[in-house]
Subunit: 156 residues, 2 copies
């Protein structure tokens, strides 16, 4: 990994996405996704709690969508900042916002709730304001869910 | 609406989906989606809490996916039971299970967190074991998010 602080923890304390249910560092009831760069790939690890289930012992699909959505949007934002030479932690007033426009998810295998989950995301295309990110969730190393998220950047 | 009890509240107390984060009546930390039939349409109303946000004042996309996923799967299951003449509350050992195989969601407009949300879902196609449900979320009557969920039924 390239940084000691997660992308989300690096955001200025007044950044509005810090309250987000999925990735906000300051949401007391949130999932607290922590995303890092590993080269061009965005990586996050996450452990479900018991109440994040669907059928007993398996991860809820909506929680999986939240992980994919927020990790992908975080990576899209961070890539944008990297390309523009912006520092997530310092250039507060120049940071764009990332809004998810669409996403699609395939559930390849049920995800055991007790598994260590890893998310891997990568920017795969770029329009004027839109960014498309592919993201998969691995449970104990096995790809179980894969998705694609289209994010629109505002404030560019 | 056709029943006084929501589909989820009608399930037997030992049904395993009662613990689901999105739609389980018995998940203390869950969203407690309550789905009803209105003719062939599945309808649910739901109010976000403050921590269900993305940017301040707007609904988190992953929470929206959870609503769409769980409401759609509940409707697919309930339609199946209706067609087979099964009673959700009584024919416990004959109830199939509904597993989401894929979903796609379009976020048409940001959803204000303070809005009264309505979900409307309808079965649009049926394979041997798969069911496709279209579902939209309306905020104060305006369609803001639309999605399609493919559910696989097991135990048919």
């Amino acid at each position: 990994m390239e940084a000691s602080l997660a992308l989300q923890d690096n955001l200025p304390s007044d950044n509005p996405i810090r309250g987000c249910f999925g990735c906000g560092a300051d949401n007391a009831h949130g999932l607290h996704i922590k995303s890092y760069f590993d080269g061009n790939e965005g990586v996050a690890t996450w452990r479900p709690e018991n109440h994040h289930c669907s059928y007993p012992g398996y991860l809820n699909g909506g929680i999986a969508c939240t992980l994919i959505d927020c990790h992908s949007a975080s990576i899209a934002l961070a890539v944008e900042c990297r390309e523009r030479g912006l520092d997530l932690s310092r250039d507060s007033d120049q940071l764009p916002s990332a809004w998810t426009r669409a996403m699609s998810v395939e559930f390849l295998k049920p995800v055991p709730l007790k598994a260590a989950l890893t998310l891997k995301a990568r920017l795969v295309s770029k329009g004027r304001t839109s960014r498309t990110v592919r993201c998969s969730i691995y449970a104990d190393g096995e790809e179980c869910i894969t998705g694609e998220v289209t994010v629109v950047m505002t404030g560019l």
